[in-house]
């Protein structure tokens, strides 16, 4: 038997590592990967709370998060491919078209 706290703190650790990778990485694909890590950390809290209150709504929410993440991955990777075609780089420091 595991206290629900442990699952929540594990999710907090994973979410924080995701945020740190999001802030510190300079490669577009790695930044995208860290977004997936944050989504997974949130999914863990949903499942833990669903188990705690014996309700299935949390699990169904995780299902929808997975669907949205899959759609987001398809569109985002297409954007990355289009970006690479026009700029020939994956480094976010060199992608500054909007900078005045």
């Amino acid at each position: 038997m595991v206290p629900v706290n442990y699952y929540l703190v594990l999710a907090a650790i994973l979410f924080t590592v995701g945020i740190a990778a999001y802030l510190m990485k300079r490669n577009v694909i790695t930044i995208f990967i860290s977004i997936e890590l944050m989504l997974n950390a949130v999914n863990l809290t949903f499942v833990a709370f669903a188990h705690m209150w014996n309700k299935l709504n949390g699990q169904i929410f995780v299902f929808f998060v997975m669907v949205v993440a899959a759609a987001e991955a398809a569109v985002g990777l297409a954007i990355i491919i289009a970006l690479y075609r026009s700029r020939q780089t994956l480094n976010v420091d060199q992608v500054n078209l909007l900078k005045g």
Binding site: N5, L14, A20
Partner: protein, 168 residues
């Protein structure tokens, strides 16, 4: 039993996430994320979410991560080089991430008097009933959101095709 599974796979998930953060090559980060997702699937299974454990392995580590690895290979992405921007980002990023971790852990641990009394685990052998309940909830009360996700996926497919198409 549950505690041992939690410690083993939770520790594995944290180690793989740290490896994701420390590796410089995108392909290593992607493969560490696969390890995180597999260990999270085991944790879902110990929490009585068998359907989600299977979906996690099939959808996330099967489909989404294959797409990631495919794009990394297609673009021939190499190691990221250390630049001035990456130094500024790591100086600014570490305190921000630490602050968010402190905030989240503080909330979770101070609410522990209410939450921590609940112990999880114990439905490992009622696998089929859970899937029945999920499907009946999904196809009765939540039928409209379920159908809307199909429209979302269709739009995402069309968007991906339009974006990745070669301009002439």
């Amino acid at each position: 039993m549950h505690l041992a599974l939690f410690l083993i796979f939770g520790g594995l998930a944290v180690l793989a996430a740290l490896n994701l953060l420390l590796q410089r090559h995108p392909i290593n980060s992607a493969l560490s994320l696969v390890v995180v997702m597999m260990s999270l699937a085991v944790l879902y299974w110990t929490l009585g979410a068998e359907f989600l454990a299977a979906a996690q392995i099939i959808v996330y580590s099967g489909a989404v991560m294959v797409l990631f690895v495919f794009v990394i290979m297609l673009l021939n992405a190499g190691e990221e080089e250390r630049t001035k921007g990456s130094k500024i980002a790591s100086i600014a990023g570490i305190p921000g991430a630490a602050a968010i971790f402190c905030l989240l852990s503080f909330v979770f641990l101070t609410e522990g008097s209410k939450l921590g009394l609940t112990h999880l685990g114990g439905t490992l052998d009622e696998a089929t009933s859970n899937i029945q309940q999920i499907s009946s909830l999904l196809f009765t009360q939540l039928l409209l959101p379920f159908e809307v996700t199909s429209v979302l996926i269709l739009v995402a497919i069309l968007g991906a095709v339009v974006l990745a198409k070669k301009e002439r």
